[in-house]
């Protein structure tokens, strides 16, 4: 059988560097799509031997976009290592504020800088216009809002972690600072504006989805399971909770699972062509047990959102699928903007909570050997699992990052789009763009570089079964 490979690399406007290979059969039909993650990071190995208290600061270097997520997931794991199950109210709320600030800035960055060019100009628009500079030219107010919202979130991170990127706020058993009255008052001045802007961003995503529902229903959409943390009462909780998994119809697979035992429910499969593993729900198996995480999964799994305006938005979102899980890849954007609004509302509530000025920051407990920390990062559920020996040195680390959880869904989304938009052996800009848009919906964190201007050289190669280059297109 004669097979052809089409390779697209690097994928622009995702957080990092990826490469797409589309495999064709002799009839030029798509047989499979593979999103390769080319980076090998090695963190799980090289943190072995380091003292446990260093880990929350060390592992956040995995990423410059959502370091707070790694910082907090590791800190939560290390809370367990120092035997702390319950932080002081001030410590937990400071961490939550840091996390909502992170969620707010990351979602704003993704929507305004990375995704909005696709929605505002259309997937087929010239890349020379379809970028953040194009948005700034045609929709200057929107671009300014995006910058200001990101800045607001970053300033919250700085106030709680000491730095906008790679701070030190969370320490095993607590935090190292509270929020001063002066800092709080600065944030309170702008929070109502942030909520308003979040609502208008939400409206753009929602209107877009409604207007293009027919087209999007066929764009990289597929049924899947959904996994996220959930509060004990079923509310969305981005900082802490138990694990819940539902299937494409909304039926429960598991619920209120203590994540300390996550490995009894979730396993990872290795495939030879990717450094990234493929996680799946054990009871269902690798073939059908894969799942989505992130904004779409979180809206699909939760029973309600405990902030009023985001809850109204969630009900509207669930309305188009009669309360069942939404399985459209492009619905991620809408779901992400509901979370943007939710984060802004939670920031407002926290800023009005006097516990943030408390001075009881740390708790001590009895040392343990093993602990797991989970958090809902902007891109999805993030797992940190450590073992620490009697000398305080890490002996084992297992990290399942959000993008890894979304590995199979991203491959399927690319495959679906390729099947629809590839015609013959002609490599079109349209195919290129649509594949990118599908990947970008998942906001994947492929490494640590941003290509927000869409100017990275983009190359597609067509190769025959023998690996010979028969066509190439670059921009």
């Amino acid at each position: 059988m004669s097979e052809r490979k089409i390779i697209i690399e690097p994928v622009t406007r995702v957080e990092g560097h990826g490469k797409v290979t589309i495999l064709l059969d002799e009839n030029q039909q798509v047989t499979q799509a593979r999103l390769h993650i080319v980076e090998f990071r090695g963190f799980e190995r090289f943190i072995q031997g380091r003292p446990y208290w260093e880990i929350p600061v060390l592992v956040q270097r995995l990423c410059g976009i959502c370091p707070v997520s790694h910082h907090l997931a590791a800190a939560k794991a290390m809370d367990g290592i120092v035997g702390v199950d319950q932080l002081t109210p001030t410590a937990e709320k400071i961490r939550r504020l840091m996390h909502y600030g992170q969620m707010f800035q990351s979602h704003a960055l993704h929507f305004f800088h990375l995704c909005s060019p696709d929605l505002l100009f259309g997937f087929d628009a010239d890349v020379a216009i379809r970028n953040v500079v194009g948005v700034a030219r045609k929709f200057p107010e929107l671009a300014v809002q995006g910058v200001m919202m990101r800045k607001y979130g970053q300033e919250i991170i700085k106030a709680t972690a000491g730095k906008k990127i790679h701070g030190t706020g969370a320490v095993p058993g607590g935090v190292n600072k509270n929020l001063s009255i002066a800092e709080r008052d600065e944030f309170l001045k702008e929070i109502d504006q942030m909520i308003e802007w979040s609502k208008s961003a939400l409206k753009i995503a929602k209107d877009y989805t409604f207007e293009h529902l027919d087209e999007l229903a066929d764009f990289g959409a597929f049924d899947s399971n959904h996994v996220s943390l959930i509060r004990e009462d079923g509310a969305m909780d981005l900082y802490h909770g138990n694990l819940r998994a539902v299937n494409a119809e909304g039926a429960t697979i598991f619920d209120q699972v203590d994540y300390q035992g996550y490995y009894k429910y979730i396993a990872e499969e290795v495939r030879p062509w990717s450094y990234m593993k493929f996680p799946f729900i054990k009871t269902i198996g690798p073939e059908n047990g894969w799942y989505r995480v992130g904004p779409l999964a979180r809206i699909n799994t939760c029973d309600f959102i405990d902030s009023p305006e985001a809850e109204i938005a969630r009900q509207e979102f669930m309305g188009i699928t009669d309360g069942k899980p939404n399985n459209l890849t492009m619905a991620y954007h809408w779901a992400r903007m509901i979370e943007l609004l939710h984060s802004a509302e939670k920031i407002r509530d926290l800023l009005n909570d006097p516990d943030l000025q408390g001075t009881d920051l740390m708790v001590k407990g009895e040392r343990r050997e093993e602990s797991v920390g989970l958090i809902e990062a902007p891109r999805g559920t993030l797992f940190h699992h450590y073992k620490v020996d009697e000398n305080d040195q890490v002996t084992m680390a297992n990290l399942i990052v959000s993008t890894t959880n979304n590995n199979t869904p991203m491959n399927l989304a690319v495959e679906g789009v390729a099947k629809k938009y590839l015609s013959g052996t002609e490599i079109t800009e349209g195919l290129l763009n649509h594949v990118e848009v599908a990947i970008r919906a998942y906001d994947p964190c492929l490494s640590c570089a941003t290509h927000a201007l869409g100017k990275m050289p983009l190359e597609i190669e067509l190769r025959d079964a023998a690996g010979e280059l028969i066509d190439r297109k670059a921009r």
């Binding site: 600061v57 000491g162 320490v171 740390m362």
Partner: protein, 232 residues
């Protein structure tokens, strides 16, 4: 007794070193192995000055009447910068996750000298971590061989926990010869646990408790205390 540093006339007491007299006059001479509570050994050479035309370590050289000392010349600044640079590449200094960041004299010295990246190739030497002691950890990756711990243990603690062992590039700080810290009479309250200028000797479970913004060198470069003291 009078002498000059960079043309400025300085008053000194008999027996004072150039560094002591300069400190009292509010002139900062950079240093890493020197510590005000310990006997100087002139080891790191960061405090090198030109005394009457010859290079000398300011921490050990006594002042003499009429001495002409050069401190802030372009050549000396370059020389010191190179020494600091070499310390970075001869160890494994990862400031980004080191708990001494912001309180580290080596890092602060690099900032003072405007070093943003080393000019020499990294050596990546294999170094050990000794976490055997319940309260104190030794991360040899970050050691700069200043021997402050050796002197503090002997001079201030009346112990002999640390020694310099080996020669040349293989020289390292040993504990009771080739043993580990848990085998020694080291206590977390020893002065030797306090004098390390870098993140080599660290007290366990104290990391990152000082928020960014409140650390020693977050707002003022190293040496500012001496420079400000002299102006008063």
């Amino acid at each position: 007794m009078k002498f000059t540093i960079d043309g400025q006339e300085i008053e000194a007491k008999p027996g004072q070193t150039i560094m002591e007299a300069a400190d009292a006059a509010g002139i900062y001479i950079p240093r890493l192995c020197a510590h005000s509570d310990l006997k100087p050994i002139g080891s790191c050479r960061v405090c090198t000055v030109i005394v009457d035309g010859r290079p000398q370590a300011a921490c050990v050289k006594p002042v003499a009447e009429g001495m002409v000392v050069e401190n802030e010349t372009p050549e000396l600044l370059e020389h010191r910068r190179n020494i600091i640079d070499m310390m970075f590449v001869e160890g494994n200094h990862f400031c980004m996750f080191c708990e001494r960041s912001g309180n580290c004299e080596l890092q602060a010295m690099a900032y003072r000298f405007g070093i943003t990246a080393p000019q020499y190739p990294f050596q990546f030497p294999p170094k050990e971590v000794d976490a055997s002691h319940p309260d104190v950890m030794l991360d040899h990756n970050r050691c700069i061989m200043c021997a402050r711990c050796v002197r503090a243990s002997q001079e201030l603690d009346g112990k002999n926990v640390f020694q310099s062992i080996g020669r040349g590039f293989d020289r390292k700080i040993g504990v009771n010869g080739e043993k580990v810290l848990a085998d020694t009479d080291m206590s977390v309250d020893d002065r030797s646990a306090d004098v390390c200028p870098v993140g080599c000797i660290i007290k366990k479970r104290t990391a990152f408790k000082t928020p960014i913004g409140q650390r020693l060198y977050d707002h003022q470069p190293i040496g500012s205390d001496i420079e400000e003291g002299g102006h008063e």
